[in-house]
Symmetry: C2
Subunit: 444 residues, 2 copies
């Protein structure tokens, strides 16, 4: 041995790493998201995690640049991606002649931000993104398709009651123009974006500090507090008789998207128009979405996005409008874990453990091969215990639902003793019916 001094095994702060039982749940969530995206016809994309710094920092400035991991290797300035959107912009610009538009892609992968480690914030985190990118223009049907995909995905995830909240930024900006907010507009939108978190009183205080007049405040609040189903809200908005063109266009878009959503027969308990949804990011120009778990409102939006006019103006003159949404899976998982609300399902792992009495180890392989050919995830006990009790201890620890025991009697009459680890029930099953027996048991 080179050295006796051991290095303490540990990972960096701000990185999430899981033990197997939790990793299985995490992968289970990830699989459901991926399957849903594929079911809705999105194509997979896998861009490098390392890109040229000039590409990833094309927008430059601000918090993002400070948080980006960048470094030199030889003469190259490299950076780790901090989201999946800039790589998408680069990819579409680079391969524009080889893609079919509208280009519908999903990407599930890790991104990196050197944030201060704090609860629920990670330096390495999974994002699950879908985007639909058009060339020159993009129908509003796509804004509805994004919402439909998210609706299906969260039904699959089965995390309890949720609601997708929908708005159109043109309505907010148009209304701000109508109220003559002038240079206070951007700051006011920023405050609206935080309204739910800060509460009414603080909200009122902040818009007062920005300099909104009494009539401006009253009119703004009356808009934001509009309640009711989508038809009711749309009809009140129309009756406001606002003359601002941006407002009128935003309202038209919101109505059209709403019509599409209705023809998808998505019940209104799962989505609603909420004029408070503003999204902080500059590049959203129309539809915006946020998603809330109704029993865990403190988590904030767990899936957000929107429509943008131009995906890639740093890379190409071609106009590329798009609409997309993102699930921050690492954060969502860690929050649910914190609350003790992790879902019960999990990724595939062994459903049966084959345990042989001493001297019958070879038989275990034959039985395991049989089960695996029948697509039953199967583990063979390969530890050192010779005592059957200790072997069953291992089964208990791994929480495998069934154990198949093979001993002298079983080999003699071509059977396996199948033990249900939950009920303790044991049953001798003939080898030729074993696969069908286990499959049936697992379906329950």
């Amino acid at each position: 041995m080179v050295s006796d001094k051991k290095i303490k095994p540990s990972i960096l702060p701000g990185f999430m790493e899981l033990l197997p039982p939790e990793q299985l749940v995490f992968n289970g969530m990830l699989n459901k998201i991926q399957k849903s995206f594929e079911l809705y016809g999105f194509l997979p994309l896998d861009t490098p995690i390392i890109e040229k710094a000039e590409i990833l920092l094309a927008k430059g400035g601000g918090e993002t640049e400070k948080q980006t991991y960048y470094f030199k290797k030889g003469d190259s300035d490299l950076a780790l991606r901090y989201d999946l959107t800039v790589p998408l912009a680069r990819y579409v610009s680079e391969h524009i002649n080889n893609l079919n538009f509208p280009f519908k892609r999903y990407q599930i992968g890790k991104s990196y931000r050197g944030e201060k480690p704090q609860k629920g914030r990670f330096r390495e985190f999974y994002q699950c993104d879908i985007d639909i990118v058009g060339k020159d223009n993009l129908s509003l049907i796509n804004d509805a398709e994004i919402l439909a995909t998210i609706y299906f995905t969260f039904n699959e995830l089965n995390l309890g009651k949720y609601q997708i909240r929908l708005n159109n930024r043109k309505i907010l900006f148009g209304y701000a123009a109508e109220l003559d907010l002038g240079e206070n507009t951007a700051e006011t939108i920023r405050i609206i974006d935080k309204k739910e978190k800060m509460g009414k009183e603080r909200f009122l205080q902040e818009i007062t500090e920005v300099g909104l007049t009494e009539p401006q405040k009253i009119k703004l609040i009356s808009l934001l507090e509009l309640k009711g189903n989508s038809d009711a809200i749309l009809s009140v908005l129309e009756k406001l008789n606002v003359k601002n063109e941006q407002f009128i266009l935003g309202l038209k878009e919101l109505r059209e998207v709403t019509e599409y959503i209705k023809s998808m027969e998505i019940p209104e308990e799962y989505w609603k128009i909420d004029l408070n949804i503003a999204r902080g990011l500059d590049y959203y120009t129309g539809t915006v979405y946020e998603t809330y778990l109704l029993d865990q409102p403190q988590l904030g939006s767990i899936c957000s996005g929107g429509r943008y006019d131009n995906l890639a103006d740093y890379f190409t003159d071609q106009k590329l409008p798009g609409v997309g949404i993102s699930i921050g899976l690492t954060r969502l998982f860690s929050q649910l874990k914190e609350l003790g609300q992790l879902p019960k399902y999990s990724a595939t792992t062994a459903k049966i453990l084959i345990v042989a009495m001493e001297g019958f180890e070879n038989k275990a392989f034959t039985i395991a091969s049989l089960l695996r050919l029948g697509l039953v995830p199967t583990e063979i006990y390969t530890g050192n215990a010779t005592d059957i009790k200790k072997k069953l201890d291992y089964a208990n620890k791994t929480q495998v639902p069934f154990v198949g025991i093979i001993g002298e009697n079983e080999v003699k009459d071509s059977s396996v003793m199948v033990k249900d680890m939950e009920t303790g029930e044991q049953k001798s099953v003939k080898t030729e019916t074993l696969v069908a027996y286990v499959q049936k048991k697992l379906q329950k």
Copy 2:
């Protein structure tokens, strides 16, 4: 717009990025590997890509250290993992009290090496690893389980004829001792590892240069050229009557592993004992594996690994013997692509595209919802074309197998016109039987 100067969209040299049709094949391969690993009862693991430099470079020195991406962020020395084995060693040492042993894990993820870009070498590449790690000791059953898993995986991958070649390093080292190779041993093993690539003549030349005597060379070559099935080779090895203890132990281990493999009923065309398999890496101490595509021998081994005595001696005093194997998927994929031998299957994407005639767009959503609930991956045409021909052009480009067309007639009699894009055949299908109809068509 902030600037008119565009940044040229491109990625770094040595990174692989795919267009959708190839990405689908890549993901198809990755899914088959993952499903096989899960079927064999391996647990998923996902360690951070960034770790402390002192952890990843614990072994230190050599090519690996030079190729590692490392950088500072604040006060921390960070590095990107260059394989999945060091993170496994760190993980098992760190969580030793929370894992069940033998610990069977798979990890599929990206690793990084700043190699000189050259054909088939990538700086970012997927590795698909399985390992079984024991505490204190680990039965040879596990060496057979690893081989069985790889057998199943390559059957699933369906890349043509392949063969897993099996050896035990103790036999090579023991035989070298028996031949009194002394300090020439390490270099001789290194040359054996390259024997298949260099050919017989060059091999003879190199072992001569190392300084092997004529009798040593003859005996070594007679061992390496042993041919026949596993029983024949084992029986010749026994008859050699070698007295060296390491040789005897290696032979005993190889026989035991062979017995287990036979009881798994893996046909001998898929595996064989090959005494030329040496593996360059220092840490293998017993069983070693390589895997070859028989029709593409020039690719070299596409899946290699072996048994090691101690996984993690840099991090813990606990002895952790293990056995594992790795598929370098990025490299394998790029080589098959180069040869025009990419497999035909692909990941899931839309199986049917719903196209509505003008004015019937809403109906497309209802039909798509129906299909998606029936788990048929479905895309809605959301482009700007109004002409049905142009919509079908999009379908042709995306190579979706079926198109569902909805017009006035279809809405009237609750049907969809389903077009098979391969045969051109069209059939009017009632809405209530649509899911069953498409599912049946897809099963063919």
